[in-house]
Amino acid sequence: MFQRKWAKHWREEGIKAGLFLCATVSVLTTFAIVWILIREAGVFFQEVSVSEFLFGTQWTPLLEPRSFGVLPLVCGTFLIVAGTALIALPAGLATAIYLSEYASSRVRSILKPILEVLAGIPTVVYGYFALSFVTPLLRTVFSDVQIFNAASASIVVGIMVLSMVASLCDDTLRAVPASLRQGAYAVGATPVEVTLGVVIPSSLSGIMAAFVLALSRAIGETMAVTLAAGATPKMTMDPFVGIQTMTAYIVQVSLGDTPAGGIAYQTIFAVSALLFVITLIMNIVSSHLLRKFREVYE
């Protein structure tokens, strides 16, 4: 009896230890990502100074004369993000308002799964869609659109991110207590006054969290911008010309025949490190905002 109890105890402890090991995998992953990026980017920064990398305005690491200023890539990325924000944030919020404030539960149960499909479509499909549908469409409407352009890429990334914004904002709007709405209706407000004057302001931090998270997703987006936005690093605000984003550059190098180990190859680690830091900061800001929102209502 006593022995069986001990066997049981040890089995229990063994299982617990095994599950603990599973849980440490994700911690190890984080450390591995950080460590690898620091180590490999360190090799790069031994030859190129950090300030030259961060503030240089020429990005030609694969051609002579070489120049390692990352700003054109950052600029390209932010052009895409700006376009995405222009489309996905207002449209996503309006969709969320429709879902939470206006739609009947029957309409909701139809519309929400359809929008989730939009988010589940692989990004390479969006890239194809940009290239073979959106760009030709833009070219018939505007005269001076290049084959590869930032506008087309931003539009598809915007569509992709839209449903994420809608879904997250819908959750926040629905978390606002009904009593707030009822109070506003009771003093004679119209539905739009309730929505814009009461519901949106009281869920602002949650909405902001959704926005930041969505834009961080747009920054990390890879295949759609690689296919549609081109491969010419450039500091421009013109959405109709080709640019290159940080992610598209990384893909270009790893698909090309740049020999591993050289300084040109090492650039992708420096760019990834920058990408990682930017998205990490945005994710932390987003979860901080969300926590603030939850503290108010939960």
Binding site: V27, L37, E40, I121, F129, M223, V251, S254, S286
Partner: protein
Amino acid sequence: MISRSLTYRYWFARAFHVFCFVVAWTGVVILGILLFHVTREGIQWLDLQFLSDFPSRFPAKAGIRSALFGTLWLMGFTALFSVPIGIGSGLYLEEFTNKNRFSRFIDLNISNLAGVPSIVYGMLGLVIFVRWFGLEQSVLAGSLTMSLLILPVIIISTREALRSVPNTIRQAAFALGATRWQTTYAHVLPAALPGILTGIILALSRAIGETAPLVMIGALTYVAFTPEGPMDDFTALPIQIFNWASRPQQEFHELAAAGILVLLLVLLMMNSIAVYIRHRSEKRNL
């Protein structure tokens, strides 16, 4: 706003309603356009020959056999690695530990990992699995990378499923003298299984469409054989699509569309299974 005339306020309320309605349904219209466009472009290439042939320089002879098999191998191994570890982590965090500093740390970790761009996972796979472990561009390297990528998704959905199991079930088992593992294994896990399965399918359907990490670890774009083991080179469906879509010729764009149709059909099937599981478990709980 309030000082405006009542007519204006009613008009504005109406207009805003219509505006939100139109925007919300525009998303559906765009989805419709996307599906229609892909089908119109790709349907003429979609036949048995397309499924059974290897890729080729000649559009008429090109197929997705290697990509399809590559994706199957990749997903099989990804599930093999990520499902046990994902469920194990979820169980540990929900059932086996208190809310202490360490579990909060893991928590924070997982939510941050979920936001890391997939291309960064590709860098991780490139350095660790391809170079250090010397796995080259093999199925194994690809599926290990994919596993790390979808692990946060599986952990998060597992935890949600476990959390929705009522505490009374646990208390009843403990009251009868069951240990924590007995309780978890015999009562909590079965109750949470539909939710966990749904999460796994959704995570795998995300992995199936992921391209960037595979490009990073150097998965080949032209493969004229099917993998026979975990150490073989491979290509995958999204990579084949990417390759065709990045060529300038119209025929290859149409081939990409046909490949997309296959990919979307696979995704549709996986999602239907997920919906079916969810539906069945909801019916049982009623």
